[in-house]
Amino acid sequence: MTQAGKYSEGDWGDGAELRTIRDKFSHFRRLLDHNHQALEILGDMEEKSQGKYLFDLNFIRSRLADLRANVSEIIRCLVTLGGDHYQVLQERFTLIDDQIELVFPSNRPIREDAYCRRFDTLSRMNSYSVGSKNAQLGEMISKLGLPVPAGFAITAWAYKRFIDSNDLQNRISERIDSVDIRSFYDLVRVSGEIVDLIRASTVPNDLAEAILEHARGLTTKVQEARFSLRSSAIGEDTLFSFAGQYASYLNVRADQLVRRYREVLAGKFTPQAIYYFLSHSLSESELAMSVGCVAMVEAAAAGVVYSRDPVNPVDDHVLVNAVWGLGKFLVDGTLTPDNFRVSRRGKLIEAQIADKPVQLVMDTHGGTVSRPVPPKLRQKPSLTNKQLRNLARYAVLLEDHYACPQDIEWVVDQKGKLLLLQTRPLQVQAIQPGTPLPDLSEARVLVSGGNTVCHGAGCGRVHHVTSAHDLPSVPEGSVLVAPNPFPGLVTVMNKVSALVTRVGGVASHMATIAREYRVPTLTGVPDALNLPAGEIATVDATGAVVYHGRLDELVQARHPEYNLSDEESIFDILGRVLDLVSPLRLLHPEDDDFQVENCVTLHDITRYAHQKATEEMFYRATDIADKERISLRLKTDLPVTVGLVYLDRGRRASGRRGWVKEEDLGSIPMRAFWNGVKQEGWPQSGGDEHALKLTMKDRGALPFSENSFAALSEEYMILSLRFGYHFATVEALCSDNINKNYINLQFSHGGSTFDRRARRVRLMTRILREMEFECRTKGDFLEATVSYKDAEAMVSKLTRLGRLTIMTKQLDMALSTDQVASWYLNDFLKRLDLVEVPVPADRPEKGSDR
C-alpha cells in the first residue's frame, strides 16, 4: 500500500490497553497489503488473457510466483491473527498449487520403452517417448499412409540410459543454474562446458548396439547407406516451436551413427536453445531428447509447405517454399526461396521464382557441402506442377487430420519422388479486419518490399547486426536489421520492437519464432542493409514498408488480433492457470458453503482469509476486556454491519454496549465518507419482498451486505467495504497538515464478467480523475490516490467517494456496452456536480493510464 505507515505518527494513544490492538492491527494491515497485491496480480493476469498484450510463459511463471508469495503471506498473517487452526488453509493452498503446477510442461517421468522404435510402429500417442517430430512421422505412415523415408526413433528412454550411465544430470543442472540469461557470452560459455561434458561421455554398449541393429534394418547395403539424425525433443512442437533450436546431422555413415547421436544430444545445449528454454522457464530435465534416424534422401529439391498462409489464413491457399538441394538453406535463412501459392485442389495460383545461386548437397565423404547451382537452373522453378499438386494434397490431408494448419518439411529425391520429413502445427495470425490506417502520405519511406513474416508494426532505433557476436549489444526496443535470419536472433526476440532481414522467406525457423514472440518481422527486403543506423524508424511488417520516424498511430492500427484457438498456445496455458487462480467460488460468508474445503482457487483462499481476518480483528475478541473494546459496531439504519476499532480511544470513550452512533463516529475522514454513503442511501428494491421470493423457487432474496470494518482515529481511517462482490478499501488521513493528507482507494473485482467489471473500473477512473485522483488500473483492479489537499477539500472528496461507492454497487452487472457505460458516466458526473464530459457514443474509452 503506497501510503502505508503514515497513520502511525502521533495517532496512537499511550495506554497499555491499546497495545494489543496495535499489534493485531499491524498483522491485519500486512494481510490487507498482501491481499491488494494479490488482487492486482489477478487483474494483470486476466488482462493479459484478453489477448491484447504481449507475454510469454515467463510472465505467467513470474506473476504466479508473486501471487503465491502473497497468498502464503496472507495465510501466515491469518494464522498469527487467529491461531493455528487456520493452518488448514495452507493445506488447501498446497493442493491448489499442485494442480496449477500440472498445467505446465512438468517433470513427467520418462516412461520405460525400447531404446529404438521403427517409425511404422509409432503414432502421435507416442510423443512422450519419441518426441513430437518422430511421433508425427509415425502417424503419417501408420495412420495416413503418406510417403516418409524409412527410419526409427531413438527414444527418451535411451536418452535417460545415456545420461544415467554417465551421471550427467546433476553436472548439467549445476551449470545451467549458474547461467546469466541476459549475457550472451555466459550462454556461450555454459553451452561449451555442457557440450564438452557430453562429448566426453560414452554411449553405453547396449544402447549403441540397439542403434546399429536398427540402422541395419533400414537397408540391405549398410556400408554404403547414409543416414540423417535429427533431434526430436520431448515437448518440442507442442507448447513451443523450438524450431531449429537443436542440431541435426545429414549424410552420416553407419560407423559414425553412435558418435553423431551423442553430438545431437550435445546439440540440445546450444546457446540459443539454453536461452529458449530458460526464457520459457523450463528446466533441462523437463526436456528429454529423442532422436530420429532416417535413411538419407539425396535431395533434388527441398522445402516447406504451409497448409495455410500463416500471415493471412483466410486466404485459403497452400503456400510452398522451395530451394534446390537440401532444405537447410531455406530453413536457416541462407537463401530466399521460390514461393508458390497453390489452391487447395492443387492449382498453381502464383509463383515467385527466386534466384538460387547455391545449393546444399551431400558430400561423398559424409556431411554436406555448398555447391553453386548450374546457371540454367538458378532461376528455374525448383518444383514441377505435379509435385506442387501432390504437396498441396498432402498439406490439406494433414491439416484435416490434425484439425489445424500444418507446417510441413518435404524433400524431392533424385528420381522426383516426394517424401515428407516433418509436420507440426503452424502458428497463424489474423489481422483485425477494417482497422483504419492513419494517413501515411506525409511519411517518408526508407525501404519497402519483402515478405511479411509476422504481422504488426513496431518502431525504434535502427540497429544492424551481422552475426551472433553482435547480439549482446542490441539495445532494448530497437529495430533490428540483419543480412539473413540467422538462428542466434532468437536470443534477442524479447528485446526488439521489429525485425528486418535482407534475405529469407516466411518459412525459416526464425520466422516461426518471430511469430511466437510476436515481433513484427519483414524478411527478404532487398535494401534492408541501407537502413540508417541510429535513426528512428517504424517498420510496417503488414504493409512491407519501413518509414522514417516514429509513427505510433500506425503501430496502434497494425495491432494484430492473434489466433487464440491454437490448442496448446500460451493463452491456453494462461487460461488453464487462471481457471485455478481467478474465479471466485466462495461468495457470501453466511452461505453454508463458505468453508475452507470449498476454496478451489487462489482467489477463494484470499477471499476466505480476508473474511476470517476481518472477523478475528473486529468481531472475535479473545477476552472480555477486548470484547468491550473491539466488538464495536456502527449503529446505522443501512443494512450493513460495520465493525469499528479505535486506534486512539480507551474503551470508556467508545460508546455504550458496543454500538457507536453515526454522529459519534469521532473520525473526520470516516464521518465525511459515511455522510456520502447516507446521502446516496442504500439502493432498495422497494417492492414487496414476498413477490421477490416467489419468483425463484427455494431461494429467498436476502439483504446482501457483508461485514465491513473500519479502524479509526480522529484524523485517520482505513475502511474496508464489501458491497456485493466488489471490494473496496479507502484509507485517508485528514489533518491540519496539508503535507500529510491523503486518500487512497483500492477497488477490485465484482460478480460480473471481466468486460463489465473492466468497464466499471474505467468509468470510476474517469470520475475519480475529475475529482483530482491519480489512477492506476490493471484489468478490473483500480488504485486511486489524492494527496496534499487541505482538510476541507479532503472532507468533500471523501463525501463524494462515499456517494460514488454506493452508486457503483453492482453496477458492473448493467454495463453491457460502452454506450451504457457512457450514459452512466454522464449521469454520475451530473449527480456528483462534477464537470460534464461529453463522451462520443460510438467510441469506447481508453482503458488504463499505464
Binding site: P683, G686, L694, T695, A814, S816
Partner: protein, 174 residues
C-alpha cells in the same frame, strides 16, 4: 441432422443485458436503448432485460411492456382493470382531456425512479443447456414464451429466443 441443443442456440449471458433488481426503470430503459444484439451479422434491440439479485441469481424478466406498465399514471393503475377498460371506451373521456401534459411528464419521470423489481415478471420457465431444440420449442409454445433463460449447473448462462429457434428451423426448411 446434428442435434441442436439450447446451449448451441443461446446468446451467452455476457452479451445479453441484465441488471440488479434495485436498479430503476430509467436505468432499464438505458440498458434496452443502448444494447444492440448482433447475432450472425443481424442486429436487433433486446426486448427483455434479465433481472438478478445480489447473488447473481435470476429473479425476474423485464419486458418493454412491463416498463411501460410501470410508467403508467397512478389514476389508472390503482383502479381495477375493468374500470380502466371502460375509461377508454368512451370517445373523449373528460378525465383524460383535463390532464395537463406537464403533469403527466412529471409523473412519468417520478415513476421512472421505481425499481425494476416492482414491475418485472417472475421466471416461469427455463431451458437447460443440454435441452434438445424440440424441447425448447415445446416450452415456448406451451407457455407462450418468447425467451427462455438457459441454465447450466443451476446458473443462468444465456438466453434463447424464439427468433433464434426460428432461424434454426428456417435453415432446415428453406
Amino acid at each position: 441432422m446434428k442435434m441442436t441443443r439450447a446451449g448451441d442456440l443461446m446468446i451467452p449471458l455476457e452479451k445479453y443485458p441484465h441488471m440488479p433488481h434495485w436498479f430503476t426503470l430509467r436505468q432499464a430503459i438505458v440498458e434496452m436503448e443502448n444494447s444492440v444484439l448482433e447475432i450472425d451479422g443481424r442486429k436487433s434491440l433486446p426486448r427483455v432485460v434479465l433481472v438478478f439479485d445480489e447473488k447473481y441469481q435470476l429473479v425476474g424478466l423485464l419486458r418493454r411492456r412491463d416498463i411501460l406498465r410501470g410508467l403508467e399514471p397512478e389514476f389508472l393503475t390503482d383502479k381495477p382493470l375493468d374500470y380502466r377498460k371502460k375509461l377508454f371506451d368512451v370517445k373523449v373521456d373528460p378525465n383524460l382531456s383535463e390532464i395537463s401534459f406537464d403533469k403527466i411528464l412529471e409523473g412519468v419521470r417520478r415513476r421512472a425512479d421505481r425499481p425494476v423489481s416492482d414491475v418485472m415478471i417472475p421466471v416461469a420457465g427455463t431451458a437447460d443447456y443440454d435441452d434438445h431444440i424440440v424441447k425448447v420449442v415445446y416450452e415456448m409454445n406451451a407457455n407462450k414464451f418468447s425467451l427462455l433463460p438457459v441454465l447450466k449447473d443451476g446458473r443462468v448462462v444465456g438466453v434463447v429466443r424464439t427468433v433464434d429457434v426460428f432461424r434454426e428451423f428456417a435453415k432446415l426448411v428453406i
